[in-house]
């Protein structure tokens, strides 16, 4: 278990976002994995309640990358070496406003950086609302993990 889960740039980005007081939540399958679900993902999706371009750009710069607010079909994105897995999420299906979800989120220390994570039960709500084929395929594993958490006294 000597390998880091996060790249150096991802760790730097999370640290910078926190230092710059930019609220964001790890959502989607990345959140589900942290909460104990089995599965895979290519992305670390970060949900921002609103984008402060200056601050997010500065955080990306500190991580050795950049931020673009999007152009043409390119949505807002954080790019750069080691940041390829980071996805910028601006709207989340089926969830309450960002502030409400942030208030009920859980904080984890991942590779020595603090990250706010959407609880598994809310990931399931979001995936059910999104109703994409890939989400539907993941739900049985997420439900099993939620039952395991509850059976272990880890979830309300």
């Amino acid at each position: 278990m000597s390998e880091f889960a996060l790249t150096r740039a991802e760790r730097a980005l999370f640290e910078a976002l926190r230092a710059l007081d930019v609220p964001c939540l790890l959502v989607g399958m990345g959140a589900a994995l942290v909460e104990g679900a089995q599965g895979t993902t290519q992305d670390l999706d970060l949900w921002f309640g609103r984008i402060d371009s200056a601050k997010v750009g500065e955080a990306a710069r500190r991580a050795g990358g950049f931020y673009t607010s999007g152009v043409g079909l390119q949505p807002p994105a954080i790019g750069g070496d080691g940041l390829e897995r980071v996805g910028v999420v601006l709207t989340a299906s089926g969830l309450e406003p960002f502030e409400a979800e942030y208030a009920r989120s859980r904080e984890y220390v991942l590779d020595e950086v603090r990250v706010r994570v959407l609880p598994l039960e809310r990931v399931i709500v979001s995936k059910r609302a999104a109703n994409r084929p890939k989400d539907a395929a993941q739900i049985p594993l997420l439900e099993a993990a939620l039952a395991a958490r509850r059976g272990s006294g880890l979830t309300d």
Binding site: M1, E3, F4, A5, L6, M29, G30, L33, V34, E35, G36, A37, Q38, G39, T40, T41, Q42, L44, P75, A77, G79, G80, L83, E84, R85, G87, Y108, V109, L110, D111, P140, L141, E143, A144, A145, A147, A148, R149, R150, G151, S152, L154
Partner: protein, 77 residues
């Protein structure tokens, strides 16, 4: 000694203490998984077992295992 203890004793007779401990612990998790799944027929008991195993890992390790099963995209988004 109940039936389950006898079964484990038989099944682990030739194992090292470490291997035996793993089997005993794993059996306990399977028992817990069956208990959880018994009230949820929509759940696969194996999925619950693996989730219980995952919950024993540090959160970063859970994430690492899920992320490293796939390749990083070749293009930024």
């Amino acid at each position: 000694m109940n039936d389950a203890s006898n079964d484990i004793s038989d099944a682990t007779r030739d194992l090292t203490p470490e291997q035996r401990a793993w089997v005993v612990h794993s059996e306990a998790l399977w028992r817990k998984a069956h208990g959880i799944a018994s009230t949820r027929p929509d759940l696969d008991v194996g999925d619950v077992y693996h989730a219980l195993r995952s919950l024993e890992l540090p959160p970063a390790e859970r994430l690492r295992r899920g992320l490293t099963r796939v390749r990083v995209r070749a293009h930024p988004r």
